[in-house]
């Protein structure tokens, strides 16, 4: 989490060039504008009296490119703040957590790979624990308790009380319940079980912590 604690004041000492924020940002905008113009190349701009679909976006893309070029050019006149090292750990784990959530919430088929939908009961804890490690201060036990407590709360809140259509349980789990149970009953029972495990973990953790403290005394 504290990437730049070790490198106070801007760019890392080992980086060969000090790129200013303006240069990098300006060039990104120019690149975006170029991509937009390329995507728009086969559309018709029409005339002012009968605007085609490409007119407005093309004008905007040219404008964006010009402004981006100006921002980039301004970095040659006065340096401005230097682009700091982009941290890797935080963004990659947060993005991974989002991707995992998207991949597990409902059935997925990407080419030859296909996953059954696991529902919120799997997607939520996975993404909480993965994204929790985006900071160096993460503690696994704490995150597991959080995941086991927050997931059933969300399941009851969104699925039971608000009736939002989010897949909650995987088919495999639902098959374990006896015939004739309603979806909501299954949801409540699973939620209650998770909460109980979370409470057990939390209190056993608290007790072992106090035991440790006593042992030290």
């Amino acid at each position: 989490m504290r990437e730049h604690d070790t490198q106070p004041g801007g760019a890392a000492p080992d980086s060969p060039v000090r790129v200013s924020q303006n240069l990098a940002g300006g060039l990104i905008l120019v690149a975006l504008a170029a991509i937009a113009l390329w995507l728009l190349s086969d559309l018709n701009a029409g005339t002012l009296g009968a605007m085609g679909s490409a007119l407005m976006p093309r004008v905007l893309a040219v404008g964006l490119g010009l402004l981006g070029a100006l921002v980039a050019a301004s970095s040659f006149f006065h340096q401005g703040p230097v682009l700091e090292h982009l941290p890797l750990r935080g963004p990659s784990l947060v993005i991974l957590a989002i991707v995992i959530f998207a991949a597990t919430i409902r059935p997925l088929s990407l080419g030859s790979v296909s996953l059954p939908g696991f529902g919120l009961i799997v997607a939520a804890p996975l993404s909480i624990i993965i994204c929790g490690f985006a900071t160096r201060e993460a503690r696994l036990r704490e995150l597991v308790v959080l995941a086991l407590a927050l997931t059933p709360t969300c399941m009851v809140l969104f699925g039971d009380l608000l009736n939002l259509t989010i897949p909650m349980l995987p088919d495999a789990l639902m098959d374990l319940f006896p015939e004739g149970w309603s979806q909501k009953a299954m949801l409540r029972v699973s939620a209650a079980t998770m909460l109980a495990v979370a409470a057990l973990l939390f209190f056993s953790g608290a007790r072992s912590a106090t035991d440790d403290a006593k042992a030290k005394d």
Binding site: A61, L64, L86, I98, S127, E137, I166
Partner: protein, 500 residues
């Protein structure tokens, strides 16, 4: 006057219904709960909670969303006072003296005066909306596409001038936002623009997805990169009611703040952001002893907080009368209205009076509720603020994922909040502010539609924008503003205002 009273009584009869009262209460409560979390501003809060209102009727949904909005605003101020982390631009000023008061053991009085000032400002702003609603709606009916286009240009120029930092960068962000809004099927020709041939882009980029990516996920990434510096007030909160002397000191700042806030809030282009800064500057100029400012002057909490709340509320005016969202929050309101089958604009007031006036009446009720809920619950908010960020951000992330998934049931939406979050984070690291981009995105579709119509009417002549008197006036104001912002002298003054 008679019609105003009868309109308001219609509004109150709707808003005071048991169900709507309950929804306003729940909205304020949940809004504050999420808004208190550090690094979660009103936009992210509303985007996260949008799905909660889907199963309600239109009136109830909008009442609840308005409650969430006020709650989130007030939650942001609470965080600013107690931990010195402003959740959004408008509570930056509150953090200055509010937190200084809190350190001197006067947290209670700071929270109290913020709530009282906000309530007063909210009351005045509600009356203002009720009074201006009808005449402005009539004026709006005179607006054709030419005028609408010029008005939106003015709104964007306002946003550029009011944004902190480089004007060039703010302009670039607006362009980017406008460009993003053109992604998807062109309604006029049916052509697909910049969709990469992907079906999920045919309808364009969803505003909630962009907003949640840029204000929710990017904010998490930004906070993760910063060392946590949470300066939570320890010890007592103190009594919540300000003393009589403090009340006397705050009276005039509250009045002035309300006036400033109401005026700035009506401006298209997120004028409300500037209101607290303006109020702070005014109070400091007028104070007998300006050196107290920054060290816990109660006027510096009372004035800006009133301005903040008044602005938050009057920024509903452009949306309700003209159908133009003035900022990102209002754009989410448009989204919520559209889902409920209401097209915002002048026709709402005439076609659906109980919705229009019910919402206005509920604004006042929402403000009253904030006063009633928040002061007794301060202890709960303090407890919540003691939770370390390493446990908070996974919760925020999960709510973002669930919220965005339940809007359309699209897995691609979830992936896109990650993509926009990452893109927003990189832009932030390059020194760009994402707020103007959101505004550009919000206005983009409306602008293109009106530009196209205006040009059809004028047979392709661009001069129509300067020959039509109203449109020419609006464009003149915009160009004066832009020139004024670029001229070095005034620019220095502007930077000073932001530096404070």
């Amino acid at each position: 006057m008679d019609t105003l009273i009868s309109n308001l009584s219609l509004g109150f009869s709707v808003a005071l219904g048991l169900q709507n009262l309950g929804l306003a209460f729940v909205g304020c409560m949940v809004g504050t709960l999420i808004g208190v979390l550090p690094g979660v501003g009103p936009v992210a809060t509303i985007a996260m909670l949008l799905p909660v209102t889907f199963s309600l009727d239109p009136v109830g949904a909008l009442i609840m969303l308005a409650g969430i909005y006020y709650g989130a605003q007030y939650g942001g101020s609470t965080t600013a006072i107690l931990v010195n982390i402003p959740g959004e631009a408008t509570s930056v000023v509150t953090a200055l003296d509010g937190h200084a008061m809190a350190r001197r053991g006067r947290a209670g009085a700071a929270l109290g005066i913020a709530a009282i000032g906000s309530f007063f400002a909210g009351t005045v702003a509600t009356m203002l909306i009720a009074a201006l609603g009808a005449p402005l709606t009539k004026a709006a009916l005179l607006f054709g596409p030419t005028e609408y286009f010029s008005l939106m240009v003015m709104g964007l120029i306002f946003a550029v001038v009011l944004a902190g930092g480089s004007i060039l960068k703010a302009l670039a962000m607006i362009m980017l936002g406008l460009l993003l809004s053109t992604v998807g099927t062109d309604l006029e020709t049916g052509d697909q623009r910049m969709t990469f041939g992907q079906p999920f882009l045919w309808d364009g980029i969803d505003f909630a997805v962009l907003a949640m990516g840029v204000f929710g996920i990017a904010e998490i990434l930004r906070n993760l990169g910063q060392p946590e510096d949470r300066d939570l007030v320890r010890g007592t909160i103190g009594r919540l009611l300000p003393s009589q002397a403090e009340m006397r000191q705050s009276l005039a700042p509250i009045l002035r703040g309300t006036l400033l806030g109401s005026a700035f809030g009506i401006l298209p282009g997120n004028g409300a952001v500037l209101a607290p800064f303006a109020s702070y500057a005014v109070e400091k100029k007028l104070a007998a002893d300006p050196s107290r400012f920054g060290k816990g002057a109660i006027e510096a909490v009372a004035g800006p907080e009133s301005a903040n709340n008044a602005g938050a509320q009057t920024s509903f005016i452009p949306l309700l009368t003209l159908g133009i969202p003035a900022n990102a929050v209002m754009a989410l309101m448009v989204g919520a209205m559209t889902i409920q089958g209401i097209i915002p604009g002048p026709q709402v007031m005439t076609g659906n009076p109980s919705l229009f006036w019910g919402m206005i009446a509920s604004m006042w009720i929402g403000n009253l509720m904030l006063l009633v809920i928040n002061l007794p619950l301060v202890g709960v908010w303090v407890k919540l603020l003691q939770v370390p960020y390493r446990l908070l951000f996974p919760v925020i992330l999960l709510f973002c994922c669930i919220g965005i998934y339940s809007i359309n049931g699209q897995v691609t939406d979830v992936l896109f909040i990650g993509l926009f979050g990452l893109a927003g984070f990189i832009l932030i690291r390059c020194g760009f502010e994402p707020a103007p981009m959101l505004l550009g995105f919000v206005l983009g579709k409306l602008m293109e539609e009106n530009l196209r119509r205006a040009l059809i009417l004028s047979r392709g002549s661009l001069t129509t924008f300067v020959t039509e008197p109203i449109s020419a006036g609006l464009l003149a104001v915009s160009s004066i503003l832009l020139v004024a912002a670029i001229v070095p002298n005034i620019r220095r003054g502007r930077e000073e205002a932001f530096a404070e």
